[in-house]
C-alpha cells in the first residue's frame, strides 16, 4: 500500500517537472575569463599538491634519503614558482594593475596605478620566474637519478616503511 503511494507520488512529480519546464540550453557557454580562472586555479591546486607532497615526505621520514630530499627541494621550488606565476597573472591579466608596453626592442614600459609604483618593481622581479622553476626541475632530475637503483640491483625504492 505504502509502496504504491510512493510510486504514484514519484510519477506525478516527474510528470509535472517535464510538462511545466521551460526551454533551456543543454550546455553552458564558456566566456573569456574562464580560461584565466581555470589556469589560476590550476596554479593553486599545484601549490596545494606540492605542499602535501613535502608534508608527506617529511612525516614519513623519507627525506632522510638524498633522492627524496632532492624531490622535496624540487617541490619547494615549484611552489615558489607557481606562486610567482600566479601573482604575475593576477597583476597583468586578472586585476590589470600592471600594463606592459613595448617601447623598443630592448625596453618596456610598466604602468601602475597612482601611488603603487612599487608594483612595477615587484612585477619586474616576478617576471624572472625561470630562476625558480629551473632549479625545481634540476632538483627533480637529481632526485630521480639518486633514487634509481643500479641496473643489477632489484631494490624497491621506498622499501623502508615510512
Amino acid at each position: 500500500m505504502k509502496q504504491t503511494r510512493n510510486v504514484f507520488f514519484t510519477a506525478t512529480s516527474l510528470g509535472l517537472l517535464f510538462c511545466l519546464a521551460r526551454p533551456a540550453a543543454a550546455t553552458q557557454a564558456h566566456g573569456a575569463p574562464e580560461g584565466l580562472f581555470v589556469h589560476q586555479l590550476s596554479h593553486l591546486f599545484f601549490i596545494f599538491a606540492m605542499a602535501i607532497l613535502i608534508y608527506w615526505l617529511r612525516s614519513r621520514k623519507l627525506v632522510r634519503e638524498t633522492g627524496w630530499r632532492n624531490i622535496q627541494y624540487a617541490a619547494l621550488f615549484f611552489i615558489l614558482w607557481s606562486l610567482d606565476a600566479f601573482l604575475v597573472h593576477l597583476l597583468d591579466e586578472q586585476f590589470l594593475l600592471v600594463q606592459v608596453t613595448r617601447i623598443g626592442p630592448w625596453q618596456i614600459k610598466l604602468d601602475t596605478p597612482a601611488g603603487m609604483g612599487w608594483l612595477g618593481g615587484l612585477y619586474y622581479l616576478l617576471k624572472l620566474d625561470h630562476l625558480l622553476c629551473v632549479p625545481g626541475l634540476i632538483f627533480l632530475y637529481m632526485g630521480l637519478r639518486r633514487l634509481s637503483p643500479p641496473e643489477t640491483e632489484t631494490e624497491v625504492p621506498g622499501k623502508k616503511t615510512p
Binding site: G35, V38, H39, S42, H43, F45, F46, F48, A49, M50, I52, L53, W56, R60, I71, F78, S82, R102, I103, P105, W106, Q107, I108, K109, L110, T112, G117, G120, G121, Y124, K127, L128, H130, L131, C133, V134, L137, I138, L140, Y141, L144, R145, L147, S148, E151, V156, P157, G158, K159, T161, P162
Partner: protein
C-alpha cells in the same frame, strides 16, 4: 616606469632552453625506471610527475621561445593565435601533475600495506613448505622417541623384576652360605695345614666366599643395601678409581684422556660404591679397546637440572645392537667363560639407581661405546 627588457628576455630564453634539456632528461630517467619496475607504484608516480612536468616545461618553454621570436619579428598576432593552445595545455598538465601527486600519497600507504602483506605471505608460505617437507621426518622422530622411551620403560621394569627375584634368592641363599662359611672356618682351625682334608676345606671356603661375593653383588643390583652418604669431590673418586686400576691392570698402550669441568659441586654419594661403578666402567672400556686405544673420561655439570654427568668413552669396536638392550641384565656377558660374571654393569646399574641417578649407553659397532652416569647434585634420599 621604463625598464630594460633584456634581463627578462635573457632569463626567459636561457631558462627555457635549460628547462627543455632537463625536462627531457627527467622524462628519459623516469621512462627508464618505469620500464625496469613496471609494477612499482613509486616509479609509476615519478614517471607520471616527470612526464607531466616535462611536457609542461616543453610546452611552456617552447611557447616562451616562440613568443620572443614572434615579438622580435613583429608578429605578435601569430603568438596571440597560438597562446590559448599553449596556455590550455599548461593548465591541463599542472592539474594532472597535482592530481597525480595527491593520488600517489594515498596509493603509497596501500602499496606499503601490499608489500607488508606480500612479505608476510611469503614467510607463511615458506613455513608451510618447510612444515610439509619436515612433517614426515618430525613424526618419525617423535615415533622413534616414543618407542625408545617405551623400550626404556620395559627394560627398567624387567630389571626391577629381575632385581626383586635376585634379592629374594640372594636373601635366602645368604644365610646358608654364612653357615657353610662359618663351619668350614671352624673345621679348618682344628685341621693340620698339610693334610688333604685341610686342602678340601680351603676349597670349600674359597667357593663359599665367591658365592657370598656374588650374592652381595646381586643385593647391590637389587638395591637392597642402602648407600651411605658422604659429601665428596667426584674428581677425587675418579682419580682413586684410575690409580687402583693402574696398579691392578697395567696397559701402557691404552691412553686415558681426562677432561674435568672445573666448577662441579661436591656430591652426596656413597664413595665406595660409586668408585666400584667407575672401576667397572673403566675396566669394561679397557677390555673393549684391548692392547691399544683411547679412553676418554669427561665430567659435566648441568646447573639447570642440578645433575653431574660422567662420560666414559672408549675407542673399541662397540656393542652389537642385539646385545645393547641386555647389557644391564645380571649374568649377561660377552666375555669368555671365566673372564666375567656378567654382574659388573648390573651392579653398577643398581648402585646408580640407588643414588637417584641414571646410567645410559650409546654404542655403534665400529665406532666405540660411551657410558653416561648421571648423578643428582642434591644427593639421594
Amino acid at each position: 616606469m621604463t625598464v630594460f627588457a633584456s634581463p627578462i628576455r635573457l632569463v626567459d630564453m636561457a631558462g627555457s632552453l635549460v628547462m627543455i634539456v632537463f625536462s627531457l632528461l627527467c622524462i628519459r630517467q623516469a621512462l627508464g625506471l618505469g620500464r625496469r619496475h613496471p609494477d612499482n607504484i613509486v616509479w609509476t608516480y615519478l614517471l607520471w610527475l616527470s612526464v607531466c612536468l616535462g611536457i609542461f616545461a616543453l610546452s611552456r618553454s617552447g611557447g616562451h621561445i616562440l613568443k620572443q621570436f614572434f615579438l622580435m619579428a613583429d608578429q605578435g598576432q601569430m603568438w596571440q593565435a597560438l597562446q590559448p593552445y599553449s596556455g590550455s595545455l599548461n593548465t591541463l598538465l599542472l592539474t594532472v601533475a597535482a592530481a597525480v601527486t595527491l593520488f600517489f600519497n594515498r596509493s603509497w600507504q596501500i602499496y606499503q600495506q601490499i608489500i607488508t602483506d606480500k612479505q608476510a605471505l611469503q614467510t607463511a608460505h615458506a613455513k608451510v613448505l618447510d612444515l610439509n617437507e619436515t612433517l614426515e621426518k618430525r613424526v618419525q622422530e617423535r615415533t622413534d622417541a616414543l618407542l625408545q622411551h617405551e623400550k626404556q620403560m620395559a627394560h627398567a621394569d624387567r630389571l626391577a623384576s629381575i632385581g626383586q627375584l635376585s634379592a629374594g634368592i640372594a636373601h635366602e641363599i645368604n644365610n646358608p652360605l654364612g653357615i657353610i662359611q662359618g663351619y668350614t672356618q671352624l673345621l679348618l682351625r682344628s685341621e693340620p695345614a698339610d693334610t688333604q682334608r685341610h686342602e678340601d676345606l680351603s676349597t670349600i671356603l674359597k667357593h663359599a666366599k665367591n658365592c657370598k661375593s656374588i650374592v652381595e653383588d646381586l643385593l647391590n643390583f637389587a638395591r637392597r643395601s642402602k648407600p651411605s652418604a658422604a659429601v665428596v669431590d667426584i674428581h677425587e673418586v675418579i682419580e682413586d678409581a684410575l690409580i687402583f686400576l693402574e696398579h691392578r691392570a697395567k696397559t701402557p698402550e691404552v691412553e686415558i684422556h681426562k677432561q674435568f669441568q672445573s666448577d662441579i659441586p661436591s656430591l652426596q654419594i656413597d664413595e665406595k660404591k660409586i668408585k666400584q661403578v667407575l672401576i667397572n666402567l673403566v675396566m669394561n672400556a679397557k677390555h673393549a679397546v684391548g692392547e691399544k686405544g683411547q679412553i676418554a673420561i669427561r665430567t659435566e655439570y648441568h646447573p639447570d637440572v642440578h645433575q653431574v654427568l660422567i662420560r666414559v668413552k672408549d675407542s673399541g669396536y662397540g656393542i652389537e645392537p642385539k646385545d645393547l638392550k641386555r647389557i644391564f641384565d645380571p649374568f649377561f656377558t660377552t666375555k669368555a667363560t671365566g673372564e666375567g660374571t656378567g654382574l659388573g654393569l648390573a651392579v653398577s646399574y643398581g648402585i646408580i639407581k640407588s643414588h637417584g641417578g641414571d646410567i645410559e649407553v650409546d654404542s655403534t659397532p665400529g665406532s666405540g661405546t660411551e657410558f653416561r652416569v648421571i648423578l643428582p647434585v642434591n644427593g639421594f634420599t
